[in-house]
């Protein structure tokens, strides 16, 4: 197994990302976006593209930096610390990983467009209130040489603004993944106001025409392409949540040092000290699971499921603890919209659900471990 220690390259990447994000994307940027009624921040994404982040999983030949999943997790983690809002996971991680599973010219060109910031993607998988791709029911009916897609996808993260959609649908003998432009006839998108103030949509497909050209990978065999993409997205999302936890925890520790009650900083109260110390331990342990997931995706992607689900489960648990303790330890101010902690709590809740919740991933871990 590769070592669980950051490479120099990863350390530099983290440092650069932190510097950029502190300047370009503090939490106030998300707040401003929300207050202006927007759900996306194209300017921030453009700047990320210029930083080369859109191409972090794109082969060099297609214009990317091909730094790998561990590096993508480093970026997602830094974004999580200040809740930077972008289609990074949907586009640069999930879509790029899906496209890399296919080695045709079309896929290579699509990867090039991702790296160049010319196309954003959203993954349209969920149909019920919970992530459950294996039980997809939306149908892509065979029609001549192509298909007709009918049905509805829910909780399509980044789906309100994405240029393209990866759509999972049932075909004759299995599931098939389609890659279609979001503007195609018959696609209607309804933006939902999710609590994290970010882009989510419910998307209806009404007799949407798709050709063989629109199929990513093979018909009836979506999972060959989708499984690696989902795992990459789950790992990056876990990394974002671990970053979120670290960000919320950092604010909390600072507050414990500043806020005085009963004549002393509240961080001098041992009960709060021990809870903060426990939370730090949880963050550290989760960080290990995140790093391990990234390494496994890079080194042995065919066997990364356990590592990825472990990371997502741990990150979900840790992020929720961090924001709950964060609000409680801040007292009344933690409940106010004027203070940032609420943004962390709401993002943690949405991220907990996206791409599989704690129970979903706990079941995968349990199965992988034989129970």
């Amino acid at each position: 197994m590769a070592k669980l220690v950051r490479t120099d390259e990863e350390a530099l990447l983290a440092e650069a990302a932190r510097g950029f994000l502190d300047g370009a994307a503090p939490v106030s940027r998300l707040r401003n976006m929300r207050d202006s009624g927007e759900t996306a921040d194209p300017g921030l994404w453009k700047a990320m593209v210029e930083m080369g982040w859109a191409g972090i999983l794109v082969p060099e030949a297609a214009g990317g930096s091909d730094m790998g999943h561990a590096a993508a997790c480093v970026l997602a983690g830094e974004m999580g610390k200040t809740l930077a809002s972008s289609p990074f996971i949907s586009t640069a991680v999930i879509a790029a990983t899906a496209l890399r599973q296919v080695s045709d010219r079309r896929a290579t060109e699509a990867l090039g467009r991702i790296a160049a910031g010319q196309a954003t993607y959203a993954l349209a998988v969920d149909e019920g209130a919970k992530f459950d791709p294996a039980n997809t029911r939306m149908e892509a009916r065979a029609d001549g040489n192509g298909f007709r897609l009918n049905g509805e996808k829910r909780f399509v993260v980044d789906g309100g603004n994405a240029d393209r959609l990866l759509v999972l649908a049932r075909t004759g003998n299995g599931l098939t993944l389609f890659d279609i432009p979001s503007g195609r006839e018959g696609v209607s998108r309804e933006r939902r106001a999710t609590i994290d103030s970010r882009d989510t949509a419910d998307i209806r497909f009404d007799e949407v025409v798709a050709t063989g050209e629109d199929v990513l990978g093979q018909v009836d065999d979506a999972m060959t392409v989708l499984k690696p993409a989902l795992e990459a997205g789950q790992a990056a999302l876990a990394a974002e949540m671990a970053g979120l936890a670290a960000g919320a925890f950092g604010m909390t520790v600072e507050y414990l040092k500043e806020r005085k009650q009963f004549g002393v900083p509240i961080g001098a109260f041992q009960a709060l000290q021990h809870r903060a110390a426990h939370l730090w331990c949880e963050c550290e342990v989760t960080a290990s699971a995140i790093m391990h997931a990234g390494r496994m995706l890079d080194d042995d992607p065919g066997n990364a499921s356990l590592a990825v689900s472990l990371a997502k489960a741990r990150a979900t648990d840790t992020a929720q603890r961090a924001v709950q303790e964060g609000v409680q330890m801040h007292g009344g101010i933690g409940m106010t919209d004027a203070f940032d902690m609420g943004f962390y709590m709401k993002r943690a809740r949405v991220a907990a659900e996206w791409l599989g919740d704690y129970g979903y991933h706990a079941n995968i871990v349990a199965q992988a471990r034989g129970f």
Binding site: A129, Q261, G334
Partner: protein, 385 residues
């Protein structure tokens, strides 16, 4: 009440409720949009809401346990239980809710003069005057007794200067009951008084605080050279802390009752099963089972303490326990509601997310969980420090 036999009382009450509660008021709603808060500027949401209030006022059912002379129905504990039972049976909304009922009423009944009671209680019972509470200050949260709002004796009046925070609905209230510092030289608990202030007075202003759930039930309230008549202190001057402690205990029981009643009421499993996903996930199912068990037991504890109080066995600092356990439980329950709801619950389009975020304040307002545990540690267990 004429009918003192419990079952006779139940029969009469049931008949009255059946006859008088408008159909629209039988939906059991208790959300912000359906509550009747009353007050000088109150706009009834419907004729039914107005009718229901007016009819209850005639029977004293807005404040069923208050003495009849102050607008209540004078119910004893057993009758009170029956009253809530029957209201629940009919799924009736409560006709009126307010901080006057919950907080000021009990304070005046315990500490007020006869004149104060006669003057202030009946308008509360009739829903004519809406009160808010002014305790916390920016520098005095958990350490409430360090509050700094000044109240100076100017001979024929008091002069109040300072700022309160977390005053619920101060922007909609007619009056405020507040803790103020009347002696700056005394030890911090000994220089506080409990005063009543008309929100229409010159120098009073409010600013809503927006919460993470998107609503603004709380305000900052500013007092800038506000004159207050001399007879508006409740209890003795500089002994306001006694009133505050009494009310804090009362408030804790009230907040925990919200959680406890939930547990005794609709089963968590039923709440969660409303969600599309149900309870098939073993982790969620196990958590829900635990929360249900704890919720039922906390609900029984609330009943036990009330029964003990009625039997003259004071619960005392145990209210801190009810507050702590009830609010922590409520947070767990709403976390489960969100988890069961999945992506369905992530919008602002139903009340799950706002309710979930709202519960996070339960363990902060009315004394934090940490303050409750310290109270128990010192006063109940007698641990040092």
């Amino acid at each position: 009440m004429e009918a003192t036999e419990p079952e006779a009382f139940r029969g009469e009450l049931r008949a009255w409720l059946e006859d008088n509660c408008p159909d629209e008021m039988r939906d059991g709603r208790n959300d912000e949009a359906s509550i009747c808060w009353g007050g000088k500027n109150w706009k009834f949401a419907s004729d039914a809401q107005r009718t229901w209030l007016e009819r209850c006022v005639t029977k004293g059912y807005t404040v069923p346990t208050w003495p009849v002379e102050y607008g209540g129905a004078g119910l004893n504990r057993e009758q009170e239980k029956i009253f809530h039972d029957e209201m629940r049976r009919l799924n009736a909304r409560y006709p009126l809710q307010s901080f006057g009922i919950w907080m000021l009423g009990p304070a005046l009944l315990h500490f007020g003069t006869h004149e104060q009671k006669k003057h202030y209680l009946p308008p509360i019972a009739r829903g004519e005057v809406r009160w808010c509470q002014g305790y916390s200050e920016p520098g005095a949260g958990s350490d409430l007794a360090s509050l700094q709002t000044r109240c100076e004796d100017k001979g024929d009046h008091w002069l109040v200067n300072g700022q309160k925070i977390w005053t619920s609905y101060a922007d909609k209230a007619d009056w405020i009951f507040a803790l103020v510092r009347t002696d700056r030289d005394a030890p911090k608990h000994k220089g506080i008084s409990f005063v009543l202030i008309d929100m229409q007075s010159d120098g009073v202003s409010t600013r809503p605080i927006k919460l993470i759930s998107g609503v603004s039930p709380f305000c900052e309230t500013f007092f800038d050279h506000v004159k207050v008549p001399k007879d508006l202190v409740v209890g003795e001057v500089n002994r306001g802390w006694d009133v505050a402690k009494y009310l804090l205990t009362h408030e804790r029981e009230m907040i925990s009752a919200a959680g406890g009643t939930m547990g005794a009421g609709r089963p968590l499993g039923a709440v969660l099963a409303d969600s599309e996903t149900g309870l098939t996930d073993p982790v969620l199912r196990a958590d829900a089972m635990r929360a249900e068990i704890d919720g039922l037991a906390v609900g029984l504890t609330l009943e036990r303490y009330k029964d003990q109080a009625e039997a003259g066995q004071g619960a005392g600092d145990a209210s801190a326990m009810l507050k702590y356990m009830g609010t922590e439980l409520n947070k767990r329950r709403l976390e489960l509601v969100m988890a069961a709801g999945g992506s369905d619950a992530l919008g602002w389009d139903d009340d799950r997310a706002p309710n979930w975020l709202r519960t996070k304040a339960n363990s902060i307002e009315g004394g934090t969980s940490e303050v409750m545990l310290s109270i128990i540690s010192k006063r109940v267990l007698g641990l040092p420090g």
